[in-house]
Amino acid sequence: MRHFLDAFRSIATAARSFARPPTTVQFPHEVRERAERYRASFALLHEADGDEACIGCLQCERICPSKVIAIKGPAKRDSPISGKKRSYADDFTLDLSACIFCELCVQVCPTDAIVMTREQEPPAYGREALVLTMAKLYENEKAKTRAWGDGTKLMEMQTPPKPPKPAPAGAPVAATSVASPSVGAAPAIEPTSAKPSEALGVASVGSTSAGAATSTSGPGPAPEAMASHAANSGAAALLNEPVTRTPVEPPEAAPLAAAPAGSPKVAAPQPGDEAGAAAPAGASPTKPEGGTP
């Protein structure tokens, strides 16, 4: 008897799903929206003046764990745009079939030449079709939506801000931590939420040192180092307050804000990039000024 009851209950539970909207989309016809940072394929970019951004420095070839990037070069040539001598990659191929999409090549590129795109390559019949040639990579620049990351942005996101020196160096640091609230907490409640976490930070110094004795596997940070870090972030939290930040900022932030990405450091690329992505979404997905003249 209980079996039937339970089976019936299961079926009743399942039946509730009929009232829900479908969770899937009809793939080839509809494509779900990808996150901004989604990494699916690659593109090579042009500079603002229309010259190729890649200088053939081989950094990406060296870091690639799968060894799928092959570059001929670098070769020094006169630039067709500016007439100056600079280095180029003679040939650039990326074998997508063995790429693990680790984003390391994007991260190491000194000129932000290689970026990832949010749209996949279409499925192919042969392996040869999965090799992105240089021509294909430059074509992707215009044909596909760019993902968020490029070398500079990824580097900035990871590089720890300089230890807060007096005023001038401090301002960008403050901007960094303000720009990455990220937890979605409204700025208004930030001061209050910062305090308990500070308190936790201090409390944790004791507990870490206690834990370190018993733990062989958890490589806890040195307690004194943590204490200094807590102090640092305390200082940063003070700088966070909009009131103190505004007067300091103008001389620092004005040139930065003028830059097209509109972004002082870390997470600020978010809003800036969103605006950038929204505008050319239809026409030219990559750098608006990227076309060859």
């Binding site: 339970d6 089976a7 209950r9 299961s10 079926i11 539970t13 399942a14 509730r16 996150a35 901004e36 940072r37 989604y38 990494r39 950094q59 060296r62 870091i63 764990p65 693990i100 680790c102 984003e103 390391l104 991260q107 190491v108 990832m116 990351g149 990824l154 580097m155 996101m157 990871q158 590089t159 720890p160 931590s177 990455s180 990220s182 937890v183 979605g184 939420s193 976490s197 936790l200 409390a203 944790s204 507990s207 870490t208 834990g211 062989t216 596997s217 958890g218 490589p219 806890g220 940070p221 943590m226 870090h229 807590a230 640092n232 972030s233 939290a237 966070n240 997470a267 978010q270 809003p271």
Partner: protein, 395 residues
């Protein structure tokens, strides 16, 4: 540590030769796998059957061997996190964490507090995703009798997608994230992400009773799992079984609490245990962990500190990170148990030797003890309940 006291059947000796068990050679040898859908990967067992009963089971792994450890010796340290992602392909986050933590311990690098909290948050979200997938596939293994085992599977898959969406928003990848680097993380949390996490957690929490109605609270499920595949705590400890499988056998052991890493020294974990040691107990423990992880995610999100996310230099060149000569073992609690990385360095940019200790391998080693005396259909349930991921078993 309180191993299960009372115990069930006398322990079988899985190494007894089949000739001794079957002098007249009347048993049937069934090759189970390697491509059976319930083997969760590519895994083969030789089952010696007396009618429907299993007399002896011999597991064979290695079908998914990709020589990851050898490959790691060829690559530079900074190139390794995306490689180990592929081991436990249901919980890639924790793979990366176990690896980079070993390197950080060697280099005596301090990971910024924000990065440690983010890692803990990622690990907990990954646990939610992993346990959801397990619950789904386990119901599938038990067959369609539970109001449709595949119903639970699809439900769990749907909820797991929510978590993958969250990871996609942070790292840009749904699976193989490469978001940890030596000294911290590579991707900071994007603005507004916390609200999305909360929404996803709420959805999962609201729908949890639905799966439970079809699994834990379902009489049919109970009949299929109670008393099936009882693993006693002492044997589990002997075999090195860790994680939910060990806790389901009544051994209260969880590295998150016993040797805190990440942010677990600041956010306390309530460890779930069960005493049955059977498939039902393993389900109970995983469901309890799922609920606990939802709570932990919220706590981690609320307390997320500000600050830098990386203390090392961002990856630029393969030669940039060289570990001093020496060795280090670091184990962390993944959704499947203790995942260890043992690195032996010779001062160069490549590891001299990198040994991974996958929890699934140890869980599988319990099979020859658990299977004899059970039926073939229970064998599938037992195998599923151990939650092995062949990618990390074979590496």
């Amino acid at each position: 540590m309180t191993p299960l006291a009372a115990t069930v059947r006398p322990r079988v000796n899985p190494y007894l030769s089949i000739d001794a068990l079957d002098p007249e050679a009347e048993l049937m040898l069934l090759h189970f796998g390697p491509q059976h859908p319930s083997t969760h990967g590519v895994f083969r067992m030789d089952l010696f059957l007396d009618g429907e009963r299993i007399v002896k089971a011999v597991p064979h792994c290695g079908y998914l061997h990709r020589a990851v450890e050898k490959l790691c010796e060829k690559l530079a340290y900074v190139q390794l996190p995306p490689i180990v992602d592929k081991n436990d392909y249901v919980a890639p986050m924790t793979n990366e964490q176990a690896l980079v933590m070993a390197f950080e311990a060697m280099l005596k690098l301090e990971v910024p507090r924000r990065a440690r909290w983010m890692r803990a948050l990622f690990a907990e979200l990954q646990r939610v995703a992993s346990h959801l997938l397990w619950l789904g596939t386990f119901s599938l293994d038990l067959g369609g009798a539970l109001g449709g085992g595949s119903t639970v599977f699809i439900y769990c898959f749907r909820e797991r997608e929510l978590v993958l969406d969250l990871f996609e928003a942070v790292t840009g990848a749904r699976f193989h994230y490469n978001t940890h680097s030596i000294g911290g993380n590579r991707h900071d949390l994007p603005a507004g992400w916390g609200a999305k996490v909360k929404a996803a957690l709420d959805t999962i929490e609201a729908r949890l009773p639905e799966y439970l109605a079809m699994t834990l609270h379902n009489h049919l499920f109970e009949q299929r799992t109670r008393g099936v595949g009882v693993l006693d705590g002492e044997l589990a400890l002997e075999l090195g079984v860790t994680g939910p499988n060990l806790r389901a056998s009544g051994v209260d052991h969880d590295l998150r609490r016993d040797a805190p890493f990440h942010a677990y020294d600041e956010v306390k974990v309530n460890v779930a245990t069960a005493r049955g040691g059977d498939c039902y107990a393993r389900t109970e423990v995983r469901v309890a962990e799922l609920v606990e992880s939802l709570r932990l995610c919220r706590a981690l999100l609320d307390g997320m500190p500000e600050g830098p996310i990386n203390s090392g230099k961002p990856t630029k060149l393969p030669v940039q990170t060289k570990l001093p000569a020496g060795q280090q073992y670091v184990g962390i609690e993944t959704p499947r148990g203790e995942l260890g990385t043992w690195v032996i360095a010779d001062g160069s940019q490549h590891p001299y030797r990198l040994k991974l200790r996958p929890p699934s391998l140890h869980a599988l080693s319990a099979l020859p003890y658990l299977l004899p005396g059970q039926t073939v259909s229970d064998a599938i349930a037992i195998l599923g309940s151990l939650d092995p991921i062949m990618g990390e078993v074979d590496r």
